[in-house]
Symmetry: C2
Subunit: 411 residues, 2 copies
Amino acid sequence: MGARAHISPLAPASPAELPLVAGVTFATAATGMRYKGRPDLMLALVEAGSTVAGVFTRSKTRSAPVDWCRASLSRGTARAIVVNAGNANAFTGRAGMRAVKATATAAARAVGCAAEEVYIASTGVIGEVLDVRPITAALPGMVSTARGDAWAEAAKAIMTTDTFPKLATATARLGGRQVTLCGFAKGSGMIAPDMATMLAFVFTDAALPQDILQALLARAVNPSFNCITVDGDTSTSDTLLCVATGAAGNRTDRLTDRGVAGFAKALDSVCLELAQLVARDGEGAEKLIAITVTGAEDDGAARRIGLAIANSPLVKTAIAGEDANWGRIVMAVGKSGEAAERDRLAIRIGGISVARRGAADPGYREDALKPHMQGRDIDISVDVGVGRGRAMVWTCDLTHRYIDINGSYRS
Amino acid sequence: MGARAHISPLAPASPAELPLVAGVTFATAATGMRYKGRPDLMLALVEAGSTVAGVFTRSKTRSAPVDWCRASLSRGTARAIVVNAGNANAFTGRAGMRAVKATATAAARAVGCAAEEVYIASTGVIGEVLDVRPITAALPGMVSTARGDAWAEAAKAIMTTDTFPKLATATARLGGRQVTLCGFAKGSGMIAPDMATMLAFVFTDAALPQDILQALLARAVNPSFNCITVDGDTSTSDTLLCVATGAAGNRTDRLTDRGVAGFAKALDSVCLELAQLVARDGEGAEKLIAITVTGAEDDGAARRIGLAIANSPLVKTAIAGEDANWGRIVMAVGKSGEAAERDRLAIRIGGISVARRGAADPGYREDALKPHMQGRDIDISVDVGVGRGRAMVWTCDLTHRYIDINGSYRS
């Protein structure tokens, strides 16, 4: 896979530097299961008493690890997260759940906790039985070498077609203390989150009851992971976990407390940053496309219109060709099924009005848009003239490289 | 546009030969509006007293010609159809309807009928005002030279990114007479019909009241035009018209009469053949993909699951790469939102069982599928294990040529 050597031109100049989060350590290992010469197994260890929240794919064909995590969440505490890259352990029948249980049991034994406190995520090819022996063999050694500063290694070990690791951090004041949030994610193709997306893990030293953490996480995914798309294909494995170790020693606040609002904001920003990094690493991406929809019936309608534009192969190929073919944006609004007033529709690209009142803007000259279309960041704003709903959605262009990558992913 | 010289490898060896339909003639002209050196204007003339039925895009940003045709249908009779290729006259504000009316008025004057008896369809770039002068100038000469055997010329004149003309025919017994149905269509990209698709015109010499014709046409689109997709992008201009001249002199039957069932079957077959030809000419297509979904909650659910598979960029690129990556079919079933039993899911490709009971078929060897994947016709069957709903859906693979064509369509 020569494609792996390529790094997305939309990658940040360097990955974010993440501080320690008290109570969290990481280890990685190279099992050689699919990838050669790179770590493909990640273990995160968290302090006893850590609470955990999760949001998962809504796919009807979700993977065994997703089933496992959803069931474990009712317990609400975590001690470890195990992630393998290269095999999604999805659509693997009973062998799938057996593999999950074997992994959880091995990790639990090495850590000294209950199997239900081990969360598991798998990413990679669908439909191949996962041989867990290389995983269970590696886990004990990983427990003894885990370090708190291994963020970059952890983020790299979970990558599949990703071209760069995705990391984000933020701080907040909560219950009289400063708390830290750090997270990482993977995802590049099969990205059309429906509830959460791909794999993302956020850790904080804040002390937060599980129900509050879950409520905050469920809110945070809507304007972040649920507002990005690469190809409109929703994964069987989408998993977002957030673990709070409580090591910061803050008071535990109620959901309505002012401090919680500050923490929620920090959590939102980490989720949004990770989500945008995934869009920046969309398979074959050459341009990041930010779509703002206003004037929709409500925020949900605005998001669906934005995603209709973001998922349109015709819009995405036009942008890959640096062609401001805004007629295709009109088409995508029309096909979304959401209320839109054709004769009040207005479109701006790169801040320049190209269409208003349902027709081309008489003052628009295509030449004026050329520099914007040739850039890396494409801004599209659409007002559909119906109500006050608004949303922002991110995606990338559709290029030859997407086809190269996906015509031969397994080979 | 060097892409235009390419002919889809999925094209029939030669276009269908269509017989005359009494009461219908055609003329074409080259206006030079967008394309050089090829006819881009089509006029169909039908006998006085002809009834007409239509099905149109459900897009919220539908074109002015679609608005015009929908309004005219209440009258129920037609004398002419005018189609121009290269400019969709969509999202052109008031200028759009002005252009439609000017065209209809000019055609009506040349034909000697009411403007409302002239149906209009435009296909091509969205958002550019249509200059009708070359059209209105050409119409009078076209009326005097129209011929009944100009099917192929008519089918070619309405093409945009199409690489071959699309024609189909059938006959039926109706009210004591043999009646003939002939039709042609265009469409290659922006194909994800939602009610009808692209442009298609069917003519018959049968005598049929408008309400019966409309009911039959509305039924015919569901298993045909509504079961194909190229890119999931629904056009602003989708128009299917069916004209019945009555020249066959058959008795007019009621919708429940046995003869009508035979006519309906012939109409269904013409619509299905035209729809499949559109899928065969999908932009950049190298392989025709037929997807059969069984075991769904109902037929509508089966169709939506089929379309989720057919619209998945990951499924389509895998097939372009001749990779039987059936895990992506599982993903697409999961994202469709329709009921499916993961642990009862079964998938066959090219008649070979690859997955059953929610996991890979133990007897499946990937090598056995190679010859099928290397062929032009890919068959996928999916049983989702829930109910008795079934549907067939057609699409094509997603190749580099799609990106070439759509990164530079306007230039």
